[in-house]
């Protein structure tokens, strides 16, 4: 807030009203509904709703398919986060070394971020198509029989690649910015102190890049957990046998397709708790960064 402020209150309320209206109607109210419904159960005909306490949660954590979904989500999230981070860092370091060609490479590397995750899913779905896709053909030549509609592991690799691909661009941009913000004098000082390029990377660059890396890790975790629904939906649909059934896909399936309101609501609340935790971590980091 400013030192001096306008005091036209009616105008202030008018200015903030649209945002408040949308927030309350489409964010807070539905979220409240989800929380309430997670403690309720509808009878078979949808005529009565009863309070059931934590029964929905108990049922959820007793359900092997939900436990599997949790495990799948962890593997998927970690795989997407780390693969996209490592590839992006490698590319950013390479760009940082090239002097003239840097901007050209950057342009050629950032555009995948603009491709819709659903489209990315369809593209990789096509490339990995077991009958006509070029990648299974190459793998077949090497003796590997690729079929993501049968093998859970193949399906997981497919969705991880598809989900990580656009995210590499995003991470790349932030790493490049992070590398550029490290003063050249530090690396020069290290070089004068006798550190070679590899040693310099591990003792100077990487530690100074750690705020960026940590920030990107949180952002990527959030992305992999919550924004990858289109990738799954456009490709494996959670299959085969639930091997790519991540939480956000399951909550959609159980709610929209299965129409199991209580369970879906309980799943929403679990997801909500996860987002809140991740947001708290992210903001804790921002606070600390402000201290610098």
């Amino acid at each position: 807030m400013k030192r001096t402020t306008f005091n036209q209150r009616a105008l202030a309320y008018l200015l903030i009203a649209p945002q408040m209206a949308v927030t309350i109607v489409f964010f807070l109210w539905p979220t409240g509904q989800a929380i309430v419904q997670s403690f309720q159960q509808e009878d078979a005909f949808g005529l009565h709703t009863n309070w059931v306490g934590f029964a929905n949660y108990q049922a959820l954590f007793a359900d092997p398919s939900y436990i599997q979904s949790l495990e799948v989500t962890v593997i998927f999230t970690v795989a997407v986060t780390f693969s996209s981070l490592i590839v992006a860092l490698l590319l950013a370091l390479a760009v940082d070394r090239t002097v003239k060609a840097g901007p050209t490479y950057t342009t050629l590397l950032v555009w995948p971020y603009a491709v819709a995750p659903a489209v990315v899913g369809v593209l990789w779905w096509f490339l990995f198509n077991p009958t006509i896709g070029p990648l299974p053909y190459v793998l077949g030549q090497m003796g590997y029989n690729w079929d993501h509609s049968l093998h859970g592991q193949d399906a997981m690799i497919l969705v991880v690649i598809a989900a990580a691909w656009p995210q590499v661009s995003y991470n790349f941009l932030f790493f490049v910015a992070g590398l550029q913000s490290i003063p050249a004098s530090l690396r020069e000082a290290a070089a004068i102190d006798g550190a070679g390029p590899v040693k310099r990377f591990f003792t100077i660059t990487l530690p100074l890049l750690s705020p960026t890396t940590f920030f990107l890790m949180v952002v990527n975790l959030v992305y992999a957990m919550f924004n990858t629904f289109p990738v799954i939906h456009a490709t494996t649909q959670g299959g085969p046998a639930g091997s790519t059934d991540i939480l956000v896909f399951k909550v959609y399936e159980d709610g929209f397709v299965g129409l199991n309101l209580g369970s879906s609501a309980a799943q929403s609340v679990v997801l909500l708790v996860i987002v809140i935790a991740l947001t708290a971590v992210q903001f804790g980091w921002v606070e600390r960064r402000v201290q610098y």
Partner: protein, 282 residues
């Protein structure tokens, strides 16, 4: 550059060229596939060189769509995507900038509460509250309307915080000088604040346009009427149609057209795009 090591430099270029190739490979294959006729895929492997069917494929898709599966022409779907992307981008910017203005430049009871209400929406991605939000939209009679497609996505804590940040970095004295110069709150907003935020608005617009264009889950559940299909969700409906084999040439043509507008935006407005990306994450 501390020192010049030819081997390292060569390695850097190698890594980058491989990276660019990996990034470009799926698009290349998709484009090639879209230039072939449907029968070219029966041989067993995707052709790697362009075919001769390009005009026919794109022409058919843009004007007729896939009638056999009830898929409307892509021109219509792209039009819907454009409407959605523009409405979301402009709408988000408009309501965020005025609410940030109220929060930064006005003092009123409930200001703190309003700020926190906006803040906690950060923690409520649409995926988490999908079913109850759908019900609200259904009860408001907004299914299969452009309003239903866009308004629920229009509130944005990120954009509000961005503008709040921008306004906070504008010196207090500017507003004081404007007041002494006889500008009221609306005049100050219009004459001073808006022009000063031009670059931020443009950067945000680029990001939000991409965000809006690429929406998938939301259009998937609120549109059942083909006249409101957007291209990004339409592609999936098309791939689902399992009359024997998906028609890959048509699907890939759709994929190319679906990614073209946002990719062009990023390439031609790269500076604004990068600025927007970095600012919205602050």
């Amino acid at each position: 550059m501390v020192e010049n090591r030819p081997v390292l430099n060569f390695l850097a270029h190698l890594v980058l060229i491989i990276g660019v190739a990996i990034v470009a490979f799926p698009i290349y294959v998709a484009f090639i596939a879209s230039t072939h006729g449907p029968t070219d895929f029966l041989s067993g492997l995707i052709p790697m060189t362009p075919g001769h069917n390009i005009w026919h494929t794109y022409g058919t898709m843009l004007t007729d769509g896939m009638k056999s599966s009830g898929m409307p022409p892509l021109s219509l779907q792209m039009g819907n995507s454009l409407i959605m992307a523009l409405t979301i981008a402009i709408g988000k910017i408009a309501i965020s900038i005025i609410s940030a203005y109220a929060i930064v430049y006005f003092k009123f009871p409930g200001r703190g509460i309003a700020f926190w209400l906006i803040f906690i929406t950060l923690m409520m991605p649409v995926e988490v509250r999908i079913l109850p939000t759908y019900k609200v939209v259904a009860e408001l009679g907004m299914l299969n309307t452009y309003a239903g497609l866009t308004i629920p996505l229009i509130a944005s804590a990120t954009a509000t915080f961005l503008f709040r940040q921008v306004f906070l970095t504008i010196p207090d004295e500017l507003m004081e000088a404007a007041r002494i110069d006889g500008a009221g709150p609306l005049k100050f907003f219009w004459d001073i604040l808006l022009p000063m935020s031009r670059n931020n608005i443009a950067a945000l617009f680029v990001i939000l346009f991409i965000y809006g264009w690429n929406q998938y889950l939301w259009p998937l559940i609120v549109t059942t009427d083909t006249s409101h299909y957007t291209i990004v969700m339409g592609i999936k409906r098309m791939a689902d149609v399992t009359d024997a084999q998906p028609q890959w040439n048509y699907i890939m043509a759709t994929a190319i057209l679906a990614m073209l507008p946002p990719v062009l935006v990023v390439i031609f407005m790269q500076k604004l795009f990068v600025k927007g990306l970095i600012e919205t994450e602050k």
